[in-house]
């Protein structure tokens, strides 16, 4: 593992599988009566959020706390940033306070890369979503969810997603989730197809390791997992598509379309969902939809990432018997 997690492309196949395997161990901790591990005791994790994001921030917060790290939440609103402080000065401040890891969410693509390479801070940088660039921990939790569902929690250990057919549908152009997923799923051996109206596919996509289709119905029967991306209604005003209803008709997933998917195929959504837009309530609430599971898996996956970046080579999870002994001392 590298010191930072900026792009899903930074992960080798072995790195990625190690993270997923570690996340499985972490997930088992969540089933224990006491969900906390002492692994990162005394380490400080800063959640540096320049963009509103409740779900990602609390997911990282829960992950760090379950590893016993000290967590500092820093959001741009109402902080020195809203008074015009630069990213550099904010970073120098966090460095002075002794941050071991900075989890950053930023509206500008490349801001985490800049933070990691500028020399402003010495700790690890974890990209929690930057502009329309990447969101690597989302891709990891998505891969974790796929492996659990398509291979199995125990059967999946040590394995990748070779041969699995994954379809990602929606606003690819503006999606950091799609970019990270394409990188990671390719690394894990999956076959990825992107589906979107041509206006929402980036110029230059032909070099990406995936297929592109404009026809959702043609792709669905050949998909083991279909990931529906959130489509912002405002895109309509920039003429990316004519109306919300037309988008929903052509690219939304409803019950009829879901019925065309293979029997064991799953529906995924990174959230927050626009019910009625890219996904109908019928699909969102069905057993095949993993949206809520993805949230739970997000905590385990982020625990794994923080542990591997900060914890070093010590075993993450001590055997349960020993743990009890520790507590009894």
């Amino acid at each position: 593992m590298k010191r930072h997690l900026i792009s899903a492309a930074d992960l080798s196949r072995d790195d990625a599988v190690l993270i997923l395997d570690t996340a499985e161990e972490m997930a088992r901790v969540a089933d224990r009566p006491i969900k906390k591990l002492p692994t990162l005791r005394g380490r400080t994790v800063v959640n540096l959020f320049f963009e509103d994001s409740t779900r990602t921030r609390i997911s990282f917060e829960a992950a760090a706390k379950r590893l016993s790290a000290d967590v500092i939440n820093f959001s741009a609103k109402g902080s020195s940033v809203s008074k015009g402080e630069s990213l550099k000065d904010t970073a120098l401040t966090l460095e002075a306070m002794g941050a071991d890891a900075v989890v950053i969410r930023h509206h500008d693509s490349g801001a985490p890369h800049r933070l990691a390479t500028s020399g402003w801070i010495g700790g690890s940088v974890v990209n929690a979503g930057d502009g329309t660039h990447e969101h690597p921990t989302q891709a990891l939790l998505d891969a974790f969810t796929m492996r659990r569902r398509l291979v199995g929690p125990d059967a999946g250990i040590g394995r990748d997603l070779a041969g699995r057919r994954i379809t990602i549908v929606g606003d690819i152009l503006h999606s950091r989730v799609a970019r990270s997923n394409v990188h990671l799923l390719n690394t894990l051996g999956a076959e990825v197809t992107l589906v979107a109206p041509p206006t929402l596919v980036p110029i230059g996509v032909e070099t990406w390791p995936c297929e592109v289709s404009y026809d959702l119905d043609a792709v669905l029967p050949k998909s083991d997992a279909v990931m529906m991306l959130r489509v912002q209604r405002e895109r309509m005003n920039a003429a990316f598509f004519p109306t919300e209803r037309e988008y929903a008709r052509r690219y939304g997933l409803d019950g009829d379309r879901m019925a065309r998917m293979p029997e064991d195929a799953i529906v995924m959504h990174p959230g927050p969902m626009n019910r009625g837009m890219e996904i109908t309530a019928e699909v969102a609430d069905s057993d095949r939809c993993t949206a809520v599971e993805q949230v739970a898996n997000g905590v385990s996956t982020r625990m794994a990432v923080l542990y591997l970046l900060l914890g070093g080579s010590e075993p993450a999870v001590a055997p349960q018997n020993n743990a009890r002994t520790e507590e009894n001392k």
Binding site: S109, T117, R179
Partner: protein
């Protein structure tokens, strides 16, 4: 003023000759000229060029003196071998009145390092809505001949047409910053393979090419000349080549950075590579070099764009667009054009002195190195190799993309009307 004898210089890269400067003019050119009463500069085989002329410089004064002033900018220009620069109009306040252009012109006179020819804005406040008083700027002491809203495109076709027509009355020219605004909303870098991966807003080539296509046709229709600023794409080259073949009076410039750098550099997210128009692809770079060599692109212009440190020491999205260029332009041209065999030194003189002075109708610059001509001269040590160190820049700003890169060539002497502004590579 004392006499100066430049001994053994290769004029435009030719055979070594001596050049005797007497006062403000060149007195004699030949071999074995007498050094009597003259300060001798041993050129020792260095290249002697006419003083360079930059048709596209941002001096930032008035308004952004924290990034550059007329004085620091002209010092940078002299260091780079320039004896005249055209100062762009996007200052604060905008150079859209006779008062502001005269202020810049006067500051240039006072600086003494090179001549400063102000460019006037085409429209009031660069807003693209209402023509600025172009005639008043021309009639002012600054005698403006070049008009540009650079930084912004004159995108309204009617305003552009009227401007092209109107400046014919005094032999002016409109220099267009070709950028279709709607196609470049939120644009952060060249739109293509790299922008798709990096998730940065794309600046498509078509946004430049569509405006150039429109403007050459407008120029043809109204019988005006038009100049294209910082042409950056292979497609733009094709359009200008077509227009010239049709006899349309179009001229075009390319920046040194577009002759060397590509959008692959943006992968670093280092804002020193953020510039407008953006760095393009390898294919574009090669097309631009070829076009500069065959004359489709007429000149090299720096688009010297100084910015204070904090405007580049930040995340990409928050950073300012632009690079300094005056002090590295000649080296980049030597590296990309001369050492690749695409241009000889006479070709460099044509594209960095004669033609830019001609396009800007600037008298006294871009003249042959011959007796009776003004002694605006640049002596270049083309054998020199050195690593670019921005700490040594005369410019107030340091936003160069070439830091730490080895480039050939060094200006050892610059003479402005017989007065040395640079001696042995140092400002005089």
């Amino acid at each position: 003023m004392p006499k100066i004898l430049i001994r053994g210089a290769k004029l435009l890269g030719g055979e070594p000759q001596d050049v005797l400067v007497d006062g403000e003019t060149i007195a004699a050119v030949g071999t074995g000229l007498s050094a009597e009463g003259a300060t001798v500069v041993e050129a020792d085989g260095k290249i002697l060029l006419p003083g360079l002329v930059d048709l596209h410089t941002h001096l930032r004064e008035p308004g952004r003196e924290d990034s550059e002033t007329v004085l620091t900018g002209t010092r940078a220009a002299a260091s780079g071998g320039y004896t005249a620069v055209f100062a762009m109009a996007n200052t604060f306040p905008v150079a859209d009145t006779a008062g502001v252009v005269e202020q810049v012109w006067r500051l240039g006179k006072e600086s003494g390092y090179c001549d400063v020819q102000p460019i006037g804005a085409v429209t009031v406040g660069l807003e693209g809505k209402k023509l600025a008083e172009l005639g008043a700027m021309h009639d002012s002491a600054a005698a403006v001949k070049v008009f540009s809203d650079d930084g912004k495109c004159v995108d309204d076709a009617v305003i552009m047409r009227r401007a092209l027509e109107y400046v014919k009355a005094f032999d002016g020219v409109v220099a267009q910053h070709a950028q279709e605004p709607r196609l470049t909303e939120g644009a952060q870098m060249n739109e293509g393979v790299v922008s798709a991966e990096l998730g940065l807003g794309g600046w498509p080539a078509v946004a430049e090419e569509s405006i150039i296509a429109r403007d050459v046709l407008l120029a043809e229709h109204v019988g005006s000349r038009v100049h294209i600023c910082h042409l950056s794409t292979a497609g733009s080259v094709e359009i200008v080549r077509w227009a010239k073949s049709r006899g349309i009076d179009v001229t075009a410039e390319v920046t040194p950075h577009h002759l060397l750098l590509t959008d692959e550099l943006v992968r670093s997210y280092n804002p020193v590579y953020k510039v407008n128009p953006p760095l393009r692809t390898e294919r574009d770079v090669m097309a631009l070099r070829e076009a500069l060599a065959d004359g489709t692109i007429d000149i090299v212009a720096t688009d010297h764009a100084p910015h204070p440190h904090e405007d580049k020491d930040c995340e990409w999205g928050a950073a300012a667009m632009g690079m300094v260029g005056l002090e590295t332009a000649l080296s980049v041209v030597q590296h990309t054009m001369v050492e690749t065999g695409l241009l000889d030194w006479a070709g460099v003189a044509e594209r960095m002195s004669f033609r830019p002075a001609g396009i800007g109708r600037l008298s006294g610059h871009g003249r042959p190195i011959a007796p009776g001509e003004p002694a605006n001269l640049t002596l270049v040590d083309s054998a020199y190799r050195g690593v670019v160190d921005p700490a040594g820049f005369a410019s107030r700003s340091r936003n160069t993309p070439y830091e730490g890169i080895e480039l050939p060539g060094r200006v050892t002497h610059t003479f402005l009307r017989g007065r040395a502004t640079v001696v042995d590579g140092k400002l005089a």
